[in-house]
């Protein structure tokens, strides 16, 4: 199963439309959390998901195609599911600024994270093999942050 998710704040029709088109040629189910009530015939649409449902779908997904939201990235990495990130662009009215582009620039190249800058290239990328990355719940960056916070609490 492929999971498409755009977060809880704003719809992202550029991504969902393209995934709807791609899903027409796939024989595996594509579940999409869309943040909008539009119909997409090739997708199993759930506009909003509660946290339990969201975690459940993330865990069972083979591949996640998502906006570059940190909640999605953290959730996917904690269970070791590969991610294709499509950043929202402010010029298209997809977010109030371009911070998702910065997020993708910083995260691309990490294990299990791929970036799509042009949605026309999404189909080919989705068809590729996506070996699951190791599940990551800690690392030197997180350890450093935790140690410092602990010293603040005293």
């Amino acid at each position: 199963m492929i999971f498409v998710t755009v977060g809880t704040q704003l719809p992202f029709p550029r991504l969902v439309r393209e995934m709807n088109r791609i899903a027409g040629g796939l024989c595996e189910p594509v579940i999409a959390q869309t943040c909008e009530h539009a119909r997409y015939p090739n997708l199993i649409v759930e506009p909003y998901m509660d946290a339990i449902r969201y975690g459940d779908v993330i865990e069972r997904a083979r591949l996640i195609v998502a906006h570059a939201g940190i909640g999605t990235v953290l959730a996917a990495r904690q269970v070791g599911v590969p991610l294709i990130l499509v950043p929202r662009r402010a010029e298209l009215g997809e977010h109030r600024n371009d911070h998702q582009i910065g997020t993708v620039r910083q995260l691309v190249g990490r294990d299990g994270i791929q970036a799509i800058w042009d949605e026309r290239k999404l189909a080919r990328t989705v068809m590729n093999d996506h070996p699951p990355p190791p599940a990551i719940v800690s690392g030197p960056e997180l350890d450093g942050l935790v140690t410092t916070l602990r010293s603040y609490i005293g």
Binding site: Q9, R77, Y152, I153
Partner: protein, 143 residues
Amino acid sequence: MRSQRILAVASKGGHWRQLNAMAGAFDGHKLHFACTDPELAQYHIGECSRSEWWRGVIVACQVLRIMAVVRPHVVVSTGALPGLVAIIVARLLGARTIWIDSIANTEAMSLSGRLSRPFANHWLTQWPEVSARTGATYAGAVL
């Protein structure tokens, strides 16, 4: 180590996940969570945003009530605007405050983050570049 009462505040979504990812830092203390999603945490606070900033007044009242119940020594937030409200109220009431700007802000502190500076005892970014540019502390990141 003396056990402290800690109130951890975040909006649902990425802010909430980041707060939880770093929650190991608070092991051994009495930890209370507040979130804008009533299903996720023990305490609920409302939403507010730049366009609906006046809702911050409601959030401030909610935070005051939670502060009265929890009486935290430390209040920590990863944002967004409701978290800023919590940091301001907490600091004015004399709690120690920690702001950790979202890792989504790779080039500059968020608006809430910038506004939190005078109210945060500890003011952190999750990117070294932002630290160099703003003077925020960089100690690591959730990713």
